[in-house]
Symmetry: C2
Subunit: 360 residues, 2 copies
């Protein structure tokens, strides 16, 4: 059991939830569902139910060091890996693998995002334990594929190939990024395609070997300092060298290339909480279909709106709005139709052009 | 010159501009046009150009004492009459008349609201001086009637009767409260009807005599303490007795009844700034017709909106809004179609029912 580790990736900026999610407090650090626990804390709680607390590693940007320590007081500071710059998931995962391998060469690792929703935690736990067993007995990179219940165009899809020797786990045939709606429908009907959850399992040895072979430009940045991981010199080494890593995702760097990639087909109620519409979908609604998160609202002739306000004491009085997102972060108010939520990133960029970092 | 006084009435709550105008800081105390001067300060500046500063009296609710002193540091505290309760304009004007008459029995008085817009101040000054001359030579109650430029249904109208011996000043034939649009059109076309500006001129003696005759229930409340006005006992007397006055407007109490009521027909660019639509109308607009007051805004596919934010630093990002009012006071956000602005009073009442005084 003590060979099992969980790596929680918590360095993203969550710009699709702007202005609620901000550069200095991205969505993983927000109590998005009003449960009293932030998304990061919920990820930590799930990990804790599977591995010892001392085997949980959080990788985040160094700007979030204090927030992580505050939100996860059970973590020792040594369990937080602080990236000096953002370099996407492959360098993040490579570092965590080198780090853990130095601590325990027999380690097996689950890697998960910090900002997803998982509804059935018992099934999740069972599937992760199955996954650990699989990667401890196979030289395999295992990804969790979620059984799709709708032709979602915002997700990546994994097509299953030949079965493995374990029930529910198959080889991966193809990865497909966000398909259009027609293709998505065909995918779902075929029964062969699963959503790419971004949750991975592997042994430290397998992921390092695969990085070496398929992403040598990432691998060699860490390999050059291999004697430093797990020592007091690791931090300085990363500070100097991490920025030299290419900006590349783990999917693109190895998952889409390596031959030993498997998918565990699971169904534990999962959502990537990728944008406002998802939060709307999963939140309790008034009989007019309005979601009011964290605020007092008096709504007249308003239907199917997502209203989220950071200041609990603020009162929203609205009339005549249908299918809008209204998000007030205190210094920014966003009002936009729900079907334009994909434009929020553009808004954020426009704001950056006009106002610099002020509202980022 | 030193017999001339200006009374500025500044005790209203401005609920049609809620949530921007609030019980604890109504619209007269707000820099509504972003000029650096509040509406009260602009009223004071106009008065100062006509009478000595020491002859300006502000009547307001006692809750606003500190705000008035802060906004008008040139005023001596004795020039502020503090109403212990709200009792509409007749008791307010009667008190000011008793007060000024005690200071100077030969006084002539202009009474004006504190929250109107006046665009041509030179013409205003000239007309007020004409008015002072008229009421100093006639036992008359003079009201200023604004030449209408549209069939406005939100104003009261004054019909002119026989001419006086002074050009541009006529007897009043009738007062008509807010007419419907058909009637308003007929009024405007006739050339006989003028908007009731709520700006009045009279001698202290004339208004006291008329109050005595036509509003004895108001008059007698003050007359009973006539020796106290202008002395250190005035304040306590008002504290005890003012609440006993009936709640009644000066129009209803005397203007619509007395025979010696005249109207000076003027045209100095006037607006009662009665609601958001008026502010929209008079504010500079973007080429898409949006007014953004006091805030940074990034607007996409937005047309003809009135956007007002109290916090200068706040950023508004909006998409797909047409003909809306968006008003953010910090603790309240109002979003409502401009054609529903008459419902704002209802919203305020509903909010009061649900939340008490919290957001009033």
């Amino acid at each position: 059991m003590n060979n099992r580790y969980c790596v929680i990736m918590g360095g993203g900026v969550g710009s699709r939830f702007w202005p609620y999610s901000r550069k200095n407090l991205p969505k993983q650090f927000i109590d998005f569902l009003g449960t009293g626990r932030t998304l990061l804390q919920m990820s930590f709680d799930r990990a804790k139910s599977i591995v010892p607390t001392s085997n949980i590693i959080v990788v985040t940007n160094e700007a979030y060091r204090d927030i992580v320590l505050e939100q996860l007081p059970e973590l020792d500071e040594a369990q937080i890996l602080l990236e000096p710059v953002r370099r996407n998931t492959a360098p993040c995962i490579a570092w965590a693998a080198f780090h853990i391998h130095a601590l325990n060469p027999d380690a097996s690792i689950m890697v998960s995002p910090s900002d997803h929703l998982i509804f059935n935690e018992d099934v999740f736990r069972k599937e992760i334990i199955n996954g650990f067993e699989f990667v401890e007995n196979h030289d395999a990179l295992l990804t969790l594929g979620i059984k799709p219940n709708r032709p979602e165009t915002g997700y990546g899809y994994i097509q299953i190939g030949g079965k493995s020797d374990v029930d529910g786990i198959s080889q991966v045939k193809t990865f497909t990024e966000k398909p259009d709606i027609e293709i998505a429908r065909i995918f779902v009907e075929s029964g062969e395609f699963f959503w790419n959850s971004g949750i991975f399992l592997w042994s430290a040895q397998s992921i390092l070997k695969t990085l070496h072979e398929y992403a040598p430009d990432v691998y060699c940045k860490f390999e050059a300092g291999i004697d430093k991981f797990g020592t007091s010199e690791e931090k300085n080494y990363i500070k100097e060298k991490f920025a030299e890593c290419p900006n590349i995702s783990i999917d693109f760097a190895v998952m889409e290339k390596a031959p030993n990639v498997y998918v565990s087909c699971v169904n534990f109620g999962w959502n990537d909480l990728g944008a406002w519409g998802v939060l709307y979908e999963y939140s309790p609604k008034s009989k007019e279909g309005n979601v009011t998160q964290n605020c007092n609202a008096m709504l007249y002739n308003c239907h199917n709106n997502m209203i989220a306000v950071k200041n609990k004491d603020k009162l929203i009085v609205a009339s005549g709005l249908k299918n809008f997102i209204i998000a007030d972060s205190g210094d920014v108010l966003l009002i936009c139709p729900q079907n334009e939520e994909q434009r929020i990133k553009q808004f954020v960029n426009d704001v950056k052009s006009s106002f610099g970092d002020k509202y980022q």
